[in-house]
């Protein structure tokens, strides 16, 4: 495998619905933005593409990827669709990486979209729930927020995590997004706002949950030679990893924790793993990506993270999977203030500020505040990480508040089902 660079990226504004654009036009807009940001590139340079969208139900159009391919002017070059629930965008990014790493392509476009506003929210929830076992899970619950709420209640029982700790995640991500003009639901909110918003599935409220969205995102990946030729400020894709777990969360075993390089078996004598409180697939994805990127202690070696916070609770669970803190410490990790931006006032007080290094998580606002147009989400994270590492946040967001000072390495994380498919990719400044 050879080194792969991200050379440019683009996103559209995420919104509840974009009735004036179909999925092809949304992708075209994101692609035009990406190409406009790298003057050296033209369609001729792109050898092929991978297209990312989750649900045929939402589009009511099979082979939508083929329609995007011809709309943006890439036919007859090679293309394919990848799909893996919420992790579709992350899988698409890694699939494009594989095309370039293998030598099959010099320049590959990863493009993704979702159009979720074409049905009402309750119908959308039903479509999403069809991504649970339709013999045993869908007929009983039929609601992803319910599945996550069950995972969360067990996390609270095992580890003492609180609803206030979860609310702090919502406060962080919504306030970060105030400085992100692409975000769907930015806002200065408080713990009280989160707890007093509508109860959806106990104890998750409306503000603990991301929204249905429409939007598109693209990334262009290139070999070293092509990246040099195209110019701009490329960013190295330093490591990729992915993992899986049982589709039915009831089937998750209760065994031993998969250890990361900085952890010991003694850290987890009492933890039955993954159970329904943790994501074994996320741990596996992190382990593989860290090994490829040479990361020994993620809390020290990474400078920021864009992770899949479809729920406040899943952000906390993911801190643990990624090894930012030990399993069970996700709530304390939020309390410590470690995942918050250093330069933003959140109206919160933090405890224990010396225990963990400051490591901003979801500086963009994450899924909770940016929205979650499924097929675009994992690629949106790559675009935000790319701008962070380039130091171009001011240019793209028209506001420099979210620009970290000299970040060297960032992690993006994409997640499906109740942890069924998960990807972790590490990007590094060159």
């Amino acid at each position: 495998m050879r080194p792969v660079y991200m050379v440019t990226g683009g996103i559209t504004k995420f919104a509840k619905s974009h009735p004036d654009k179909d999925f092809r036009l949304m992708v075209k807009e994101a692609l035009d933005y990406a190409m406009g940001d790298l003057p050296g590139i033209s369609l001729d340079e792109i050898d092929g593409s991978v297209c990312s969208y989750f649900s045929d139900h939402f589009t009511r159009q099979l082979m939508a990827g083929a329609m995007v391919q011809d709309y943006v002017g890439l036919s007859p070059k090679p293309s394919r669709r990848v799909e893996g629930g919420g992790a579709t965008g992350g899988l698409c990014f890694q699939s494009a990486w594989e095309s370039v790493a293998s030598g099959r392509m010099e320049v590959c476009l990863a493009m993704g979209f979702e159009t979720m506003g074409r049905v009402n929210t309750w119908k959308g929830n039903e479509f999403i729930a069809l991504a649970s076992d339709t013999n045993f899970d869908f007929p009983v619950g039929g609601f992803y927020t319910g599945y996550y709420a069950m995972m969360l209640n067990r996390h609270m029982y095992e580890f003492g995590t609180t609803v206030e700790q979860m609310a702090k995640v919502a406060v962080k991500n919504h306030i970060n997004a105030v400085h992100n003009r692409y975000a769907q639901r930015p806002g200065r909110i408080t713990i009280e706002d989160v707890r007093s918003s509508q109860m959806v599935a106990t104890p998750l409220t409306l503000l603990d949950i991301c929204q249905m969205s429409e939007g598109a995102a693209v990334c262009i990946l290139a070999s070293e030679k092509a990246a040099q030729r195209l110019g701009g400020t490329p960013v190295l894709v330093k490591g990729v990893g992915s993992g899986t777990d049982a589709m039915r969360m009831a089937d998750r075993p209760h065994g031993k924790v998969l250890l990361l390089p900085h952890e010991k078996e003694e850290d987890y004598v009492d933890v039955k793993y993954p159970g329904v409180h943790s994501f074994r697939g996320g741990r596996m994805a992190a382990k593989l990506a860290y090994a490829m990127a040479g990361i020994n202690d993620p809390g020290q070696d990474l400078d920021f993270i864009e992770l899949h916070d479809a729920y406040t609770s899943s952000e906390i669970q993911t801190y643990e999977d990624l090894g930012l803190c030990r399993y069970g410490e996700g709530g304390s990790y939020v309390d410590s203030g470690a995942p918050f931006m250093p330069n933003i006032e959140y109206g919160l007080t933090f405890s224990d500020t010396s225990r963990w290094r400051k490591l901003p998580v979801n500086p963009s606002g994450g899924l909770l505040a940016c929205g979650h147009p499924v097929g675009a989400t994992g690629l949106m994270q790559a675009v935000f990480a790319f701008w962070q590492l380039q130091g171009s946040v001011q240019k793209h967001l028209g506001d420099s508040t979210l620009q970290l000072s000299a970040p060297k390495r960032g992690l993006i994380h994409s997640h499906a089902g109740t942890g069924t498919y998960i990807t972790v990719s590490i990007l590094e400044k060159v």
Binding site: N153, Y157, R248
Partner: protein
């Protein structure tokens, strides 16, 4: 040849929400011929008020939700009758849901933990709400008399 031919006009109109862009309602409905295939005995068991799980013939791992091959070692499993009493492993009360379930809200979901069984079972809990529901609380199975061959033919109530 008929040069005066016209397509017949009908009274059926389009339900139009907006004109620029044009947004219209489009109805979409379908029947599926769905088979439970190798999981059939589980659903037949519900009709006889039995809860059937799967035990691996290779490693002995026992699954509360049927799988005809073991997730741990790949060996075939055999059917075993699960206990009809267990405890609540975790729970939630849904106040919102997918369209098909909206009329049932609020409803409580639980994962049931059975003695001697390695995995959990997703079901509904009736007869307890709010603070009455606790992890570890004992529950027992109840069955619909007129079965519908769905996993909701069984539900749980407090012991």
């Amino acid at each position: 040849m008929n040069k005066d031919i016209k397509l017949p006009e009908t009274d059926a109109g389009t339900i139009l929400f907006n004109v620029n862009p044009i947004i219209q309602k489009f109805h979409y409905e379908i029947d599926y011929i769905h088979t439970y295939a190798q999981d059939t005995p589980f659903f037949a068991g519900l009709a006889k008020q039995k809860l059937l799980g799967s035990r691996c013939k290779g490693c002995g791992y026992t699954f509360a939700t049927p799988r005809s091959h073991c997730m741990e070692c790949g060996s075939p499993t055999e059917w075993v009758e699960l206990p009809q009493r267990g405890i609540v492993h975790t729970f939630t009360t849904c106040h919102f849901g997918g369209e098909a379930f909206l009329k049932e809200t609020p409803f409580t979901l639980i994962l049931v933990e059975f003695e001697g069984v390695q995995t959990l079972f997703l079901s509904r809990l009736l007869g307890a709400e709010g603070d009455e529901i606790k992890i570890g609380m004992p529950v027992r199975a109840r069955f619909l008399r007129n079965c519908k061959f769905k996993p909701t033919d069984v539900y749980f109530v407090p012991v």
